[in-house]
């Protein structure tokens, strides 16, 4: 069987049947995405590697819990990765220094990598759309969102970090997500 031709959902079905080749193919497709998110959040490569390993180990153990109706496979993986990274950050009570800044223009304007042959055109388009949506946010909203999304900070912690009133931070984050939801829903 040529696993490279199978859909993500089919790979998960085979992983649930304990086929290591299916896990290898899923890793080949999405390890870069998972690792990228992990290292952006925790900064330390060894910790990001452990998070990546844990994500795919969990997929191996819990593939039968995936429901295609609730999330795409790639977003399901990143949700697992982010939750794992937030747990790590909160447990260690440390944050990567770069998280204290915000989602930089360099990041959101980055051109999706063309040198990743495993990445589908559809995924590249999704990346471009999300970056374009983030770029439309006001700078102060993007900053608060970045601290919450990458740093795992709570409202109170963000307010302290930015030295802003709590209500202001809540409004910025709520407004940012509402705007992103609106922009991205138009793309669907």
């Amino acid at each position: 069987m040529d696993f490279s031709t199978l859909s993500d959902e089919s790979l998960l079905a085979l992983i649930a049947r304990r086929r290591p080749e299916a896990l290898e193919e899923l890793y080949r497709r999405y390890s870069r995405m998972v690792y990228s998110l992990a290292i952006r959040m925790v900064a330390e490569p060894s910790v990001a590697e452990e998070i990546t390993l844990d994500v795919f180990t969990r997929v191996w153990d819990k593939a039968d819990s995936y429901r295609a109706s609730r999330a795409q496979v790639n977003t399901w993986l990143t949700r697992i990765a982010r939750n794992h990274a937030i747990d790590t950050l909160r447990r260690q009570n440390t944050r990567a220094a770069h998280v204290a800044g915000h989602w930089t223009d360099a990041e959101i304007n980055a051109i999706p990598a063309k040198n990743n042959p495993e990445e589908t055109t559809q995924l590249q388009l999704q990346r471009a759309r999300v970056r374009a949506a983030v770029a439309q946010l006001p700078d102060n909203q993007r900053q608060a969102l970045s601290l919450a999304f990458f740093g795992g900070y709570t409202h109170h912690q963000i307010a302290q970090t930015l030295n802003q009133p709590l209500g202001t931070v809540k409004t910025r984050i709520r407004s940012a997500l509402k705007k992103l939801r609106h922009i991205l829903s138009d793309d669907e």
Partner: protein, 243 residues
């Protein structure tokens, strides 16, 4: 903390982002089971949050990470049953057909111990050992340069019956099978068996189709034929040997 539906609704985006403080998190969590509208709202925002990860600049993990992952999960993967050596497979087969083989089967079993040694020496240069003077064996050698295939034919002491054992033959598609040809001094070719091999390229078969005692035939060949066999050899020859 008791909050109204409107207040909870305002917290849903932050709940999806997991940045609420503990008391607010508890309030939203307790509200959700009884409020379909808030559950739908949460699902919508959760999808938005999930997609934010796609905007992250890409970084490749170290190449060795995949090996670490597979080392972690493979012990949990189903372990295939240990490969059964060919002589054990044949012995099991002979046990089930002992009434047919009678005394010849017992002698063939005796010969297995010796022939095993031959195959362990890759069946390249079979020499009949003194202890099996009463048995005849024929080694079959591959005829393709890139092949690892080997085979042996064991002929019973009375020259009537025989068994064929092959290893390392390529498994064929369903519409093809291997066919053993028995060749006499007149170059007449008679089908001795039609068979397929398992995933290891192994198969043991009894040679039952010969109209004459096996000792009548002096050469043997195995070809690839359509499933079910052919009246005469038509496909590629993969193994050959002579008495």
């Amino acid at each position: 903390m008791t909050l109204t539906h409107e207040q909870i609704t305002e917290l849903i985006p932050a709940f999806a982002l997991d940045c609420l403080d503990d008391e607010e998190t508890v309030a939203v969590t307790e509200h959700l089971p009884g409020c379909a509208a808030c559950r739908a709202e949460l699902e919508s925002y959760q999808s938005t949050v999930d997609r934010l990860a796609l905007a992250v600049p890409e970084v490749s993990p170290p190449p060795e990470l995949q090996g670490r992952l597979m080392a972690r999960v493979r012990p949990a993967a189903p372990v295939p049953p240990p490969a059964v050596p060919w002589w054990q497979k044949l012995a099991a087969q002979l046990r089930t057909t002992a009434p047919v083989w009678g005394a010849a089967a017992l002698l063939v079993l005796l010969a297995l111990g010796v022939s095993n040694l031959y195959l362990r020496q890759q069946l390249t240069d079979l020499q009949r050992p003194a202890m099996v003077d009463t048995m005849r064996t024929v080694s079959l050698r591959h005829t393709q340069p890139d092949s690892q295939a080997t085979g042996i034919i064991i002929v019973s002491t009375d020259g009537e019956y025989g068994a064929l054992i092959v290893e390392h033959l390529y498994p064929l598609p369903e519409n093809q099978q291997y066919q053993l040809w028995l060749i006499d001094d007149n170059d007449t070719r008679i089908s001795g068996a039609v068979f397929s091999v398992d995933d290891d390229g192994y198969r043991s078969v009894q040679i039952e189709e010969a109209p004459l005692p096996l000792e009548h035939y002096t050469r043997f060949g195995i070809t690839v034929e359509p499933a079910g066999g052919s009246p005469g050899p038509t496909g590629q020859r993969v193994l050959a040997g002579s008495m």
